[in-house]
Symmetry: C2
Subunit: 123 residues, 2 copies
């Protein structure tokens, strides 16, 4: 791993992009990535075969739909979606989120979609 001895300011990092549903890498540790993303609208139903995924709301609010229940996250709240559990993030208004997940995690999990991201950028 490349040594990076600089701190990360989330507000500054969020100011660097406007796109929705395109997570950016802002940190790397223990074979995991810390990512941030702006979300708005509906994502796609998917699950991750072997990765648990954490969503923390930094600004705004986010609904994580599971098949049986909806989890509403406000600022300062997080939710861990265990591997194998189908979910779909939905944001009525733009929301800023931080994610923590293993390096190999694909944003749309098992679902191929136009939202599937193959090139993650570090910012």
């Amino acid at each position: 791993m490349e040594l990076q001895l600089t701190k990360v300011n989330l507000t500054e990092k969020f100011s660097l992009f406007d796109s929705h549903w395109e997570p950016k890498i802002v940190g790397e540790l223990n074979e995991q990535y810390v990512k941030i993303a702006k979300l708005k609208g509906e994502f796609v139903w998917h699950h991750h075969e072997s990765e648990d995924e954490l969503f923390m709301v930094v600004k705004g609010s986010l609904i994580i739909k599971l098949r049986d229940v909806e989890i509403k996250l406000n600022e300062g709240e997080f939710f861990i979606i265990p591997r194998g559990i189908e979910h779909m993030p939905v944001a009525e208004n733009e929301v800023h989120v931080l994610m923590f997940e293993p390096k190999g995690t694909v944003n749309t999990g098992n679902t191929e979609s136009e939202k599937t991201l193959n090139d993650l950028k570090k910012i």
Copy 2:
């Protein structure tokens, strides 16, 4: 892993304890823990042999001393301390932090101290 389909509200979790330098587990994913802690004063110099460690400031400010430099973290900022790097957190006033690190991580790393925690609690 036990399935836990409830969200975590950080403010609520921080209200559950007052002690300093005693991280509590608030989440578990991919063999990593999400922990929170209240810090005040000086910790001990230590490093972690094989774990990178993330500190994010939720409230207040924190200085992470490295041997050559000091990193000052304010709210909404995080820093990843790579494995092997000696560090000492210092908080002039109480600070609330969130940490990500592998499950086996001992708070004082290679250093035995009265601050060494052997029983991590989930809250």
